[in-house]
Amino acid sequence: MTRHLFKLVWNRKRTNALIILEIFFSFLVVFVVATLGIYFWDNYQRPLGFSYQNVWKVSVDTKGTGEDSEAVVAARLKTFARLLDEVEALEPVEAAAGTLVSPYDQGGWTSNMKIDGKSIDTEANVVTPGFADVLGLELVAGRWFEEADEELGWRPIVIDRDLARAAYGDQDPIGRPFGKAEPPEKPSRVVGVVRDFRKGGELSAQGNFMFQFLGLKGEPSWFQPHVLLLRVRPGTPAAFEEDLTRLLQGVAPEWSFRVRTLTQEREAHLRLFLTPLVAGGVVAFFLLLMVGLGLIGVLWQNLLQRTREVGLRRAAGASRSDVHRQVLWEQAILTSLGVLLGVVVVIQIPILDLIGFIRPEVFTGGLVASTVAIYLLTVLCALYPSAMASRVQPAEALRYE
């Protein structure tokens, strides 16, 4: 039976080759959309590690560059420390912190560390001690930074669980040295572990993260804060922004400030990612609709031409459901060949490690989802034409010339 079906497919190879090609490309389109969709959905489900509600972000343009002298940088840090003190004293502010990068920022800082001979990539940030309170970070081991850390002869580091696992495995990371430091630089040591921190927000992948302590009072460090984050009391009116801006301008008239809530930042960030995804999804949907309609037309036409063949089978005793089954199986063979071709192409992604960020589970999910979707689409498209074909009366079909 199967051999016979293949023979039927082979007999019309030129027409079928084009249909297989079309199914192949449709499979690729569905695969891309499904994989990206699953990737972002999977990310969305994972814990964020911080809370964005009631957090305000002040972007500070200090008009500085990497060319500034040490004295200029020291003065700048001092001004920043004063800003932080004044803001913390404000009535609606519950906590405040200075940081290099803030959640939902486009840019960031990634670092490559050598730990126990392993090379580990991690996202990183430098923050003042208030950071954990502002964003509600959850500490799972050790301690967070304190003001007194400024006096330490070494550099305290807090890492997240992913990084702890990647760097130290099952061992306790607290107190362990973090990377190697060249002599003039202070050595680093892990003091605490937070549950998670995904700077890129809900849609970003879960990954390694490290925090480095930022002191504003001591010697100027290479890193300078660019953002002031504050947690305000729930229900703080938007008008507070005006008071805040006036205060900041008063302390540092030469700098520029931009205040936004983290909720606004989050929305803008989500929109930036979701807009192209939704646009692509809509286009892909219409492409598939077009392919589906086209398939119905082509199958219908093909079956019309095979009326005599169908009539002969019916005359020889095949039931209507036999004809029905034959058409669907033929279609399934075409689909399988197209999907097989697609899988052969797509499987190159993990084999050649073309796109690093796709996890194996996401890849498998995308593969399964797109295969199911394509079979569904093609079988659905074959249902109506095959119903038409099976309704053919043997006598009429044989007369047809």
Partner: protein, 414 residues
């Protein structure tokens, strides 16, 4: 002959309505997507007000410093542009030269309400190179810039936000803690025009601190207006020579050794700021390739449908062949038929695309977008439709012409 083909084509389309619908649907969707993308590109790159002279304007939009371990990439700073790009103004082919900042977010408060605007700091020449449409007043002059006068040109939307749309000339606005007197109001410029867009334009010298004057990497751009398009290559190569000279005076020679950048057209500028590893020609090729790739599936679909449709007409073809029609005539007929179909689809696509663009404008997804179809986009659309139509007709027509008359008359398939 052609009239006859057209008549047959319309009859055939009317006869098999389901097939006609499927084909039109596919053509329509494909062209809508392509035309919307084209309209966005056209809106960003083609000469529109205020960049009506973009065919002879170059800009220095991006700069990259590279050292053994460090790479720093950003917009150039005023200090660099003043020292190494301004000398280009002395070239015989250069008509005008301007330095301006990029549009930066600035905040104002008006009666407890917060207003966020784009603020661009420019010199006087900026207004001579770009062709803004003034609704009120005019630009500020180079002299106002030299004397650091606190004057501002605002756009229509800003006038609406601050003054409720009433005449704004001579009135004051407060932005980022500074007060400016309004001297001009211009029509809104789309956000996509990155070299001119803003809400508020003020003199560079009103900056809060003078530290911008020494910076190499900051957030400025230079615009160079040539006398004619033929002068552009000379300006580009002269700027490269200035870059080599600047490499000898880098501010941090320990960490940075080389400097790359260019005097670019808008398209080259976008490429340099985003995917600088590729030359603009390659980016153009990649875009064209993506377009072809996108058209592949719809084309295959149309080929399949056309093939089925042709086989349906085997007896008609048989008759025509038996009466001596050449293969070429048959192919021609079928291509014409398919072109009629694609053109109908293109018209439907054009209407749909304009609706989609309207919706995009209204959605505010691209600030101040004035996406619209114009004659240029219509021509692009037409070209894409013709290409699409011919491509999807050739193979089925060839298969058809190979049909043996005797077999065809019997109604047998290929």
């Amino acid at each position: 002959m052609i009239r006859n083909y057209l008549k047959v084509a319309l009859k055939v389309l009317a006869r098999r309505k389901f097939f006609t619908f499927i084909s039109l649907f596919g053509i329509c969707i494909t062209l809508v997507v392509l035309m919307v993308v084209t309209a966005i590109l056209d809106n960003a790159l083609a000469p529109h007000s205020p960049e009506t002279r973009s065919d002879r304007t170059l800009g220095v939009y991006a700069l990259k410093m590279r050292g053994p371990e460090n790479v720093q990439k950003s917009e150039p700073g005023y200090g660099f542009l003043d020292r190494y790009a301004r000398p280009l103004a002395a070239l015989p082919g250069v008509e005008r030269f301007s330095i301006a900042s990029t549009s930066q977010t600035a905040v104002s408060f008006l009666g407890g309400k917060r207003i966020e605007s784009g603020l661009r700091r420019t010199d006087g020449e900026f207004w001579q190179i770009l062709d803004f449409q003034f609704l009120e007043g005019g630009p500020f002059t180079a002299e106002a810039e030299r004397n650091a006068q606190f004057v501002a040109v605002i756009n229509e939307t800003t006038r609406q936000r601050f003054f409720g749309g009433k005449p704004a000339l001579g009135r004051t606005i407060e932005v980022d803690g500074q007060r400016f007197r309004v001297v001009g109001v211009v029509r809104d410029v789309p956000d996509l025009r990155f070299s001119s867009f803003s809400d508020i334009w003020v003199p560079i010298s009103t900056a809060k601190s003078a530290s911008y004057k020494d910076k190499w990497m900051d957030s400025f751009q230079a615009l160079i207006l040539a006398r004619g398009p033929a002068d552009l290559p000379a300006i580009k190569s002269e700027f490269q020579a200035r870059l080599r000279e600047a490499e000898g005076h880098l501010p941090d020679p320990k960490n940075f050794k080389t400097l790359t950048g260019g005097a670019d057209t808008l398209f080259e500028g976008i490429v340099r700021s985003n995917v600088e590893e590729l030359p603009p020609g390659a980016v153009r090729a990649v875009m064209f390739l993506l377009m072809l790739l996108f058209m592949l599936l719809p084309t295959l679909n149309l080929v399949n449908i056309n093939l089925s449709r042709i086989l349906d007409r085997a007896s008609e073809i048989g008759v025509r062949k038996a009466f001596g029609a050449s293969s070429r005539a048959l192919v021609g007929q079928f291509v014409v038929e398919n072109l009629v179909l694609t053109l109908i689809g293109a018209v439907a696509g054009l209407v749909l695309a304009s609706l989609v663009l309207e919706a995009l404008n209204a959605s505010g997804l691209i600030p101040y977008a004035q996406l619209a179809l114009n004659f240029r986009i219509f021509l692009y659309g037409l070209a894409m439709a013709l290409f699409f139509g011919v491509l999807s007709a050739v193979y089925p027509a060839w298969r058809m012409s190979k049909l043996h008359p005797v077999q065809a008359l019997r109604g047998r398939s290929v």
